[in-house]
């Protein structure tokens, strides 16, 4: 039986699935064992602990109420306390019974037996205490309570405390065991998982290696064929025959394909060489013929083109000469017109120059007059200032006279009757002074107006001076511009005259040329039409030969391509 790739894969994955199943089963059992342990802790030991605590509290409460019963003398309170005592006793016994049902260990059982014994003894004594209390023998009851009853209560209570302690110890023990079990299970699980992963890797690597090796060999064989290497390979065949699986079939199929290809290539090679030889011969013969015809055709063609171009050029020349003649006439007329305009401009320019010269003279005179006026105005300014000084002096004198006249009047008054005439004189002097003062004031006003006028005149004068200066500058510039225009105009006139002479001589020569060209044109046209006929028939022949030549060339090319293709195969 063949151990094929498919079977190998199935076997490997089967082993891995089996191991994984085992791992799963083991995991579940481990989890269950850990779970059992923790249940034991909660159900047995925590519950036991609770019950022991209940017993402890119940018996302690009982003891407190028993004491209250003993101390009190109130019958109602006694009756209530007895009820409470009975309830606590029932609670204690119920807890004890529950606990007994959960007992498992021998040590536990012994402790429970002790508790039962001691609590019964304690309750016996308690009955006596209560009896004494009811009979109001308080002292005896208290004595009993602190004597026999105390001993028995302590015993019972201590045993219960031991029971609590025992339960806690057992719970801790169970917890430790549970942790231990968990740790062990984890270790085993890790080991098993690692083993499975390792095994899977080994199996995968083995399978991949065995498949890749064979595949590489087959691919190498195919590559060889793709590179057109079809040489018979004895070693390759013997390697393939050793394969026991699907790769053997693949290899054998490939080998037989290579054999068929080899035979096919050989036969194509032989045929293509024959075709090539024949095509070569044909091509050579046609090419010689074609070359001869082409030579003739080219010569004729060139001739035809030459004569056609000549005829065309001659015609164009004649046309252009006609156009030239018209242009020349227009230019002659334009030149005459320009000459007239230029003459008019020249006259206008001369007039301009004359005006500018006159303007310059006027400006000069203007300037001189303005300077004289400015001098006069300055003089006037100085004079008016002198007047001001004089009026200031008059003012001060007037004021002084006024003061003197006042004092004279006063003196006259003091002189009494003798001073009367003098007083009149003083008054007259005062009046004169007052009139003088008024006149001086008027003079002041007039002088200040004159000064204002002078300053206005001065500023106007300076403006006028600036304007005159600008006019002078502008007129100089304008004069220069007119002179430049004059020069240009006379130059232009000279140029235009020489232009007209040149144009006239061109016009005369042109007519002779036109006659010669017309003759040449007719001859060229005749020659062109004859040559064109010859050229057309040559072209037809040439085209036929070219077609044949192209076919022979194609054939040759095909056989060459075929040979190149075949040469790529190695057989």
């Amino acid at each position: 039986m063949k151990f094929t790739v498919k079977n190998k894969l199935i076997a490997a994955f089967g082993v891995i699935i089996l191991l994984s199943f085992f791992l799963g089963v083991y995991s579940i059992s481990s989890i269950k064992s850990v779970n059992d342990r923790s249940s034991e802790i909660t159900e047995v030991w925590f519950r036991g602990n609770d019950l022991a605590h209940t017993m402890d509290t119940a018996i302690s409460d009982y003891r407190i109420r028993e004491y209250r019963h003993a101390v009190t003398e109130d019958e109602n309170l006694m009756a209530d306390t007895e009820k409470e005592l009975q309830a606590l006793k029932d609670k204690f016994e119920a807890a004890l019974n529950d606990y007994e049902s959960t007992v498992v260990l021998q040590e536990d059982r012994e402790l429970v037996a002790e508790v039962e014994e001691y609590y019964l003894q304690y309750f016996e004594t308690s009955k006596e205490v209560l009896q004494l209390s009811r009979e109001l023998k308080t002292k005896e009851a208290i004595d009993l309570l602190y004597g026999e009853s105390k001993n028995r209560f302590d015993k019972a209570n201590n045993t219960i405390a031991e029971l609590v302690k025992f339960n806690q110890e057992q719970a801790n023990l169970a917890k430790e065991q549970s942790n231990k079990t968990y740790e062990e299970s984890r270790l085993i699980l890790v080991i098993i998982t690692s083993a499975i992963i390792l095994l899977s890797i080994v199996v995968a690597v083995y399978i991949i290696l065995s498949i890749t090796k064979k595949m590489k060999f087959i691919i190498g064989f195919i590559d060889k064929t793709a590179n057109l290497d079809l040489v018979y390979d004895q070693n390759g065949l013997s390697t393939i025959s050793k394969f026991k699986d699907e790769f053997f079939d693949m290899g054998m199929a490939l080998a037989s394909m290579r054999k068929s290809l080899r035979e096919l290539i050989d036969s194509i090679k032989k045929n293509s060489i024959d075709v090539s030889l024949n095509a070569d011969n044909l091509s050579n013969v046609i090419e010689e013929t074609s070359q001869t015809i082409e030579g003739v055709a080219k010569a004729v063609d060139e001739m035809a083109h030459g004569s056609t171009d000549l005829a065309k050029n001659v015609e164009d020349g004649a046309g252009k000469l006609g156009a030239l003649a018209e242009e020349i006439n227009i230019v002659v007329k334009s030149a005459d017109l320009v000459k007239d305009y230029i003459n008019v401009a020249s006259n206008a320019n001369s007039e301009g120059i004359n005006y500018i010269k006159k303007l310059k003279e006027v400006v000069k005179v203007n300037n001189e007059v303005a300077e004289q006026v400015a001098e006069r105005v300055d003089l006037l300014d100085n004079k008016s200032e002198s007047i001001e000084k004089i009026t200031d002096v008059i003012k001060s004198i007037t004021s002084q006279i006024n003061l003197l006249s006042l004092n004279a009047a006063i003196e006259a008054a003091r002189a009494g009757e003798q001073g009367k005439g003098f007083a009149v004189v003083a008054e007259e002097i005062r009046k004169l002074a007052s009139e003088t003062a008024n006149s001086t004031k008027e003079i002041d006003i007039i002088v200040s107006e004159v000064k204002k006028e002078i300053s206005t005149t001065k500023s106007e004068m300076s403006k006028a001076k600036t304007a005159v200066n600008q006019t002078a500058e502008v007129s100089v510039k304008t004069e220069k511009a007119f002179e430049a225009i004059d020069n240009s105009v006379s130059n232009i006139i000279k140029q235009i005259e020489s232009l007209i002479i040149g144009i006239n001589s061109i016009d005369n020569n042109k007519n002779g040329i036109v006659v010669n060209i017309t003759d040449m044109s007719a001859i060229a046209e005749e020659s062109a039409s004859t040559t064109e006929e010859v050229s057309a028939s040559m072209q037809e022949q040439s085209a036929s030969i070219e077609q044949i030549s192209q076919s022979a060339k194609d054939l040759k090319q095909i056989s060459v391509n075929l040979q190149d293709l075949i040469a790529k195969f190695r057989t």
């Binding site: 003061l403 006042l406 009047a409 003196e411 008054a413 003083a426």
Partner: protein, 142 residues
């Protein structure tokens, strides 16, 4: 008609008159030399031909701000009587006039506070306050 003569002067816009008999003379303003004195009204003294004369700013004393004028226009009226001489600064001395006795009116008691204003004179539609500068001097130099 009996006339009296007065020297008319101006402080601010008001015209005042002083009886000509009290006036010694009129001089141009000169700046007084300030000296420490108990009498507040005396702004200083001037030297008039070798005599030391105390000067009073009359405008300030009668509560009239003198016109904002150039010093040039100011005058000093020199008053003289038996007790001695003193000068009074005024803005301007205008004229010497004669006023008829009918045109001079005694002032009412309302003006009692200013004892030196004795009369008011009417002259050509203007009112002139007559000051007795000797009384005034007695008031200020008490």
């Amino acid at each position: 008609m009996i006339y009296a003569k007065f020297v008319v002067f101006r402080i601010g816009k008001e015209e005042y008159a002083v009886p000509i008999s009290q006036v010694k003379e009129i001089i141009n303003y000169r700046s007084p030399t300030t000296i420490p004195l108990d009498i507040e009204s005396i702004v200083g003294v001037i030297n008039l031909r070798g005599k030391v004369i105390p000067i009073i700013d009359l405008g300030k004393e009668i509560g009239i701000e003198s016109e904002n004028k150039p010093i040039k226009g100011e005058k000093i009226i020199i008053i003289e009587d038996t007790d001695g001489a003193f000068g009074v600064i005024v803005d301007e001395v205008e004229e010497v006039i004669k006023i008829g006795e009918d045109d001079i009116h005694k002032v009412n008691d309302i003006y009692e506070r200013n004892k030196y204003i004795t009369e008011i004179a009417k002259n050509d539609n203007r009112l002139i306050i007559i000051i007795d500068l000797n009384l005034f001097w007695k008031e200020v130099s008490k």
